[in-house]
Symmetry: C2
Subunit: 414 residues, 2 copies
């Protein structure tokens, strides 16, 4: 990745980021959920870029878009480079997309140079990582890694559409999701470049870093059922207010997580029914997201939290149901791949910063199939999951350069 | 109200209650907001019943449906009997509707007997009392009482439709809302029959009671603006979580109101943005509803609450805006009308129970125009604003009987 073609590399990546960010379900901010018309448009656009970079393009059985650049001979095992194309609600434009676009840029560069490696390179744009629509993350990478959970097909989104129905509407066959699974011998490694979404690299003045571990996470769906009633006539002492109970739970999440510097906990979604200003809420649903780089920190906090939530509900005469909708142990990145990445960073002239990832990534799901390695790119203020998410073109280019170097340094690659 | 016609009176009222309850925006529970197609259907149905009872029917400039039964000569001042036809979300079927249907039943009985009183009787079905759609209650009764606030025309509902736009879509002219106002000399009194929505009459074993005062109320719309961010990467100590701040505010409302037995406070609506399980909420909006029979209890609590809310927001680095969207002082019912009601109850053979109303009613708005009197009807368990809201046909008939007697006892009426 030297010479005139690379000088505008960062600019091309940034331009493609903007093109993808234009595909949004809402006009006033980027929202692109799994299996929506905008997901279709994103797959089409990314597929065109993959084709332009010399790849053969297909959409797999779960809706991931995959480009394949053959090695020195056809059908060789592949190094996969990927990240996701779905977003949170009112998202930033780099989270996920940067890894897909950078992967395509690397293959485009191989293609421009007419280079074939002793392995194939595939770039994957996963359809669902954030889990916004069906409250279950990594649907795309779990399916590719062969760990898709068929029971999820019955799960319903906020519009009461099941995952199976959404797949059918998208043109997929829910009975054939298993076809998305890849065989381990065909996948040499999985590499993912992603914005850090935290403040460490910025504080160190570094454009890129090597990820050591991906934090484990637990996601809960909590339902509280109290008693609706007239806001003017039911004395405070006779109330079973589901929202007041939820408020107590939210503060318990905050309190438990404040006890450990390595733990974070978030209530991101809440809905109170019936939802009128003059009616006592009879039921409330909310989510809890708990994460820690060290699994024992998370599981201990979870146990403590369950006790607090159940006690708060019981004291208020409110019924509580706590469903664990997602759980992922922390995932260490592969030591050899991490050393390759570190070497590439060093050769580019930067100090090597190793850091854990507080956020989950497709790499965590892909670790079930192949060794994984991750490159982090600095982002402004550590801000992510927010329209203010921002990186520089120079940092995008730095990340792409490291990724390209890793491909070249990969055993058998140089 | 004696003889064979009245024996099935309660049954007819209950049957009409069910007919009105079938006009709902949602199939799984009764919701009928102001200026919706279901409001139109309710006005049409109630207008037919009014016509059947011998009334001339018109819809006024704000969407109230009004039937008029002339007195011994045309154009006499009128006694108004009214209540509202709109509902909360997932409502009970008696709140509001019972007063309108009972009023029609009384006029129907006069009509069957061929009786004309020395005053006209009008029955009003108010279009908006609950304020669910535009977060401002009593729109119908305020307009009729000549106290409609024109600035409200710009207020927008959850679908971003302004009140003016909704009126136009309903076939009303927002520029002519003032035409709904009645002249004080034309209105002798306003009577309202309503379910108690509380537990007092049931605990006393009485079907009906006389309302002494309608509680004052303050409704707030609170907006919190913190900072959205990734649920996995922002340390707890660096967060400005708008939902955690809201949780603290909700518990403050509860705590302040628990300090006084005469005070109730409710957070009934809440919305957190962006609203994904893995994103720290950047903004939250919620409502606060405060009520007390004695105004100083409410205003003191409001002052205390404002201080607590602002302190909680400040400590968390979250911006707070508190808008007072509704405020109504407590309203005493007219002493002479209340004595008329008490006399009618006594003559029916029941002990007279006088009690304040914790809930607001159109009578509170109508007190700006005429003396008001209210009859309460017992409801099961005090439950209201809830699909479980329930009364017996016998109690409905008891209420109608009292109302009919008051009309007959009204000065000049017998």
């Amino acid at each position: 990745m030297t010479g005139t073609t690379t000088d505008t590399f960062g600019a091309e990546i940034m331009s493609r980021i903007d093109d993808l960010a234009a595909l949004s379900e809402s006009p006033d901010g980027l929202t692109r959920r799994y299996l929506t018309p905008e997901h279709r448009q994103a797959n089409d656009l990314v597929g065109r870029w993959m084709g332009d970079a010399g790849m053969t393009v297909r959409q797999d059985a779960v809706g991931n878009i995959i480009g394949r650049y053959e090695g020195v001979s056809e059908g060789l095992p592949a190094v996969l480079i990927g990240s996701h194309l779905d977003t949170v609600v009112m998202a930033g434009k780099f989270d996920g997309m940067l890894g897909v676009i950078t992967g395509i840029a690397c293959v485009g560069e191989l293609n421009r140079r007419g280079r074939r490696l002793p392995f194939a390179v595939e770039v994957v744009g996963f359809g669902d990582e954030e889990g916004v629509r069906f409250q279950s993350g990594y649907l795309g990478s779990h399916a590719l890694a062969g760990n898709f959970e068929p029971a999820l097909l019955e799960r319903r989104d906020a519009d009461d559409i099941s995952l199976a129905e959404a797949m059918t509407a998208f043109g997929l066959d829910p009975a054939r999701v298993g076809d998305a699974a890849r065989r381990a011998p065909d996948v040499l490694a999985y590499l993912e470049l992603h914005i850090e979404q935290g403040p460490v690299l910025e504080s160190q003045g570094l454009p890129v870093g090597v990820v050591t571990t991906i934090a484990g996470a637990t996601r809960l769906a909590v339902s509280l059922t109290g008693e609706a009633g007239h806001a003017g006539t039911v004395p405070m002492t006779l109330r079973h207010d589901a929202l007041a109970a939820a408020a107590e739970c939210i503060l318990a999440v905050e309190r438990v997580c404040a006890e450990s510097p390595n733990l974070v906990g978030t209530v991101g979604q809440i809905a109170a029914e019936p939802g009128a200003s003059n009616v006592i809420p009879g039921s409330v649903r909310f989510t809890v997201d708990l994460r820690a780089a060290e699994d024992p920190h998370r599981t201990t906090a979870l146990d403590e939290l369950m006790v607090l939530l159940e006690a708060a509900a019981k004291r208020r005469g409110v019924a509580i149901e706590i469903e664990k909708v997602h759980e992922a142990a922390s995932v260490p990145c592969d030591a050899q791949l991490s050393d390759l990445i570190a070497g590439a960073i060093e050769r580019s002239g930067w100090r090597v910063q190793r850091l854990p990832s507080g956020a989950g990534h497709d790499a965590a799901a892909m670790a079930g199939l192949a060794p994984v390695g991750m490159v982090f790119v600095r982002c402004e203020g550590g801000v992510s999951h927010n329209p203010a998410e921002s990186i520089t073109a120079a940092d995008a280019e730095a990340g792409a350069r490291v990724l390209f170097q890793v491909l070249n340094d990969f055993p058998g690659g140089s």
